[in-house]
């Protein structure tokens, strides 16, 4: 039972994890992105359509990354060189994503593909309790494990990562050091968007191999909240995504076993968790121990420097 629960937790958490990691990259460079929900849908449709027409899941994943990368570049263009309002641009991106996928997804509704298969890692997959959840998953889940490490390594152990964090914390200082703030921000937004797109593709390629309008069903907004919960760090993003996935998986399984818990309490669980997240992160903010990048949400213009 625990094995199955952990397995369901990882699977439910993975799309949110990809989206949160992408959003962390955005915000580490100082750009807020509320377009996550729209980008997930764009990724989901592009991933499905790519797989449907090419017959290859890998090409599908690549299509998802590229489509979300391109869509993310709209947000990057507005917020970086044009220094537009990041909140407005992000919301517009979400609306754009919902509309454009509804329009172009018409032909894909009702089509079917063969979804991502599980790959059991020899030996490890037989481990008790965690074997099934961690080592008997599909390729995208393995990639998400590696990505969590890679993003940490990139941000804290590479020179470019240091530059990116500086751009997010204090763009003027980064500029003084000869770092191109615009280039860093642009690439962080677009690459992050690409990762969000893969999160969307996980929905349409692995979780439920099909395309239906609005299939992300609010997961993008959960990712936006989890960025704050994670304190902008990739391993805590993993914890948050699995906590969220785990709560859903757990309450469904409690019901399936036949425990007679009030449906109202079950319904409240995800929201209670959301409130807890907000409380904890607000306390951290007041203590001054928040990890929020100092330059978050502020457009940078060299001429404005004080």
């Amino acid at each position: 039972m625990v094995e199955i629960l952990l397995d369901a937790t990882v699977r439910a958490g993975t799309p949110i994890l990809f989206a949160t990691l992408g959003a962390i990259l955005n915000e580490r460079a100082g750009i807020i992105n509320l377009g996550i929900e729209g980008l997930m849908l764009i990724g989901a449709l592009a991933g499905f359509a790519g797989t449907f027409y090419s017959g290859s899941l890998l090409i599908g994943v690549l299509c998802a990354f590229i489509a979300a990368f391109v869509a993310g570049s709209i947000h990057a263009l507005i917020t970086v060189p044009l220094r537009g309002n990041q909140i407005v641009s992000g919301l517009a991106l979400t609306m754009f994503g919902i509309g454009v996928t509804a329009l172009f997804g018409r032909g894909m509704v009702g089509e079917t593909i063969v979804g991502l298969e599980r790959i059991a890692l020899p030996g490890l997959s037989q481990l008790p309790i965690v074997g099934r959840a961690l080592f008997q998953q599909d390729l995208l889940i393995y990639i998400s494990f590696i990505l969590v490490f890679l993003i940490w390594f990139f941000l804290y152990r590479t020179r470019i990562g240091l530059g990116l964090r500086t751009v997010g914390e204090n763009p003027a200082a980064a500029d003084t050091c000869g770092i191109s703030v615009s280039l860093y921000r642009f690439l962080a937004v677009t690459t992050g968007a690409g990762l969000v797109g893969i999160g969307g593709a996980y929905l349409s390629l692995a979780m439920t191999p099909m395309w239906i309008e609005n299939m992300s069903a609010g997961r993008g907004w959960i990712a936006v909240a989890l960025v704050i919960f994670s304190g902008w760090s990739s391993h805590r993003a993993m914890l948050g995504a699995y906590l969220f996935g785990g709560i859903t998986a757990m309450q469904l399984r409690f019901q399936a076993i036949g425990t007679d818990i009030s449906t109202h309490i079950l319904q409240m669980l995800p929201y209670i968790f959301t409130i807890l997240v907000l409380v904890v992160s607000t306390i951290r903010l007041q203590k001054g121990s928040s990890q929020q990048p100092q330059g978050l949400g502020q457009p940078y213009d060299r001429e404005d420097r004080k």
């Binding site: 199955i4 369901a8 699977r11 439910a12 799309p15 929900e37 979400t94 609306m95 919902i98 509309g99 509804a102 329009l103 997804g105 018409r106 509704v109 009702g110 079917t112 929905l203 979780m207 439920t208 191999p209 099909m210 239906i212 309008e213 609005n214 299939m215 069903a217 609010g218 997961r219 907004w221 859903t248 998986a249 469904l252 399984r253 019901q255 399936a256 076993i257 036949g258 425990t259 007679d260 818990i261 009030s262 449906t263 109202h264 079950l266 319904q267």
Partner: protein
């Protein structure tokens, strides 16, 4: 977040010739949909009905507006349809009830029909279907097909419409297999493919070998297909999502009802009423049965279907016990429509959470 983009499509039909010869009133109908016509479910079924209605000679090309959120937005959309000269407006989701009544109060010359609600007015009628009838029949099939005697049911919200479906289904299951149980998992959403899939998986994990559902996405079908179980769909015939697992589905067939209402408006005989049609009027049906269902079971189900159609059998006929063993309906009695519409208990054989 609901859809923000509203697309308006006017479907053009050849055949304006109806004009010249029509005796009564020309009918120009407008439809307000809660989802996209491509949802392969609820809205898709309504749109099929709309197309069938358009075949009537006195019906002008109709208009539909997709993915309209309930509340204030829907009032704006309904008003727009009135302004553009529609004289018969169908609002196809529960969430449009108050908006429909409000707009109708200011436009007495337009006929409004609201699906699944309970508020009426001089120029507002309601309509819905007795989906519990085909649900009962699909339960009989599930009861015959389960080997482990555990049937899973992925359900959206604990409201009377869904509870009625679960109970009818369970009565059907136990009419042919008194040892079987129906396990219910609530997803608390009409539409979230990921959660629906997980709910279906959780039922398969506890040993269910036949699944049924009351959801708008076909994720439950995929779950059953992937794990080699059987599945009963809902809304429309979605067997392409589960070519091996699909047994049948209780489905909507709005065409006859929409044509009937258009005819009444045309003839000037329309009056406000609460329509609740069933299998007799062909508003609800069972999708073509899969070849995997043995012939004797098919015969059994078809015979029962005929009894329902002719009015000789009602799924909610006593004795019916609730799941605590108390008598819910005395022997020989048939449950009244008000009781059916406000149903809030599980019958014997259902395992699931339900706070009364």
């Amino acid at each position: 977040m609901k859809k923000t983009m509203v697309m308006i499509l006017v479907v053009l039909l050849a055949g304006f010739t109806g004009h010249a010869f029509a005796q009564g009133k020309q009918v120009k109908a407008g439809f307000v949909y809660v989802g996209p016509v491509g949802d392969a479910g609820w809205t898709f079924a309504h749109d099929q009905g709309r197309k069938e209605m358009e075949k009537l000679p006195f019906v002008e090309p109709s208009t539909y507006i997709e993915s309209v959120p309930g509340g204030a937005e829907s009032a704006r959309v309904i008003n727009g349809l009135v302004r553009r000269g529609h004289n018969l407006i169908f609002t196809t989701s529960f969430g449009y009830m108050d908006a429909t009544i409000d707009v109708a109060a200011r436009n007495k010359d337009v006929v409004f029909m609201h699906a699944s609600g309970y508020r009426t007015a001089e120029n507002v009628g309601t309509y819905f279907g007795r989906m519990y009838e085909p649900r009962y029949l699909s339960g009989m099939i599930a009861g015959k097909m389960t080997e482990k005697n555990i049937v899973g049911y992925v359900a959206a919200f604990p409201i009377p419409e869904v509870i009625r479906g679960i109970n009818a289904f369970t009565l059907g299951v136990r009419s042919v297999n008194p040892d079987a149980q129906v396990r219910v998992v609530w997803t608390q959403t009409w539409f979230d493919p990921g959660v629906e899939r997980d709910a279906a998986d959780s039922l398969l994990d506890v040993g269910a070998d036949v699944l049924a559902m009351h959801q708008d996405a076909p994720a439950t079908l995929q779950a059953a297909e992937a794990r080699g179980a059987y599945v009963i769909g809902y809304n429309s015939d979605n067997r392409r999502f589960a070519p091996n697992a699909f047994l049948t589905a209780p489905v909507w067939n709005w065409g006859p009802l929409y044509s009937h209402i258009a005819q009444a408006v045309h003839d000037g005989t329309w009056s406000s009423e609460q329509i609740w049609w069933g299998m007799k009027e062909d508003l609800v049906q069972l999708a073509t049965l899969s070849d995997r269902i043995p012939a004797d079971v098919q015969t059994l189900v078809n015979e029962r279907a005929e009894e329902i159609r002719t009015g000789n059998f009602h799924p909610f006929t006593g004795p019916i016990k609730d799941r605590d063993g108390n008598e819910a309906l005395a022997s020989g009695q048939i449950m009244s429509d008000p009781d059916l519409l406000s149903m809030n208990f599980f019958v014997e054989g259902v395992i699931g959470t339900l706070s009364n």
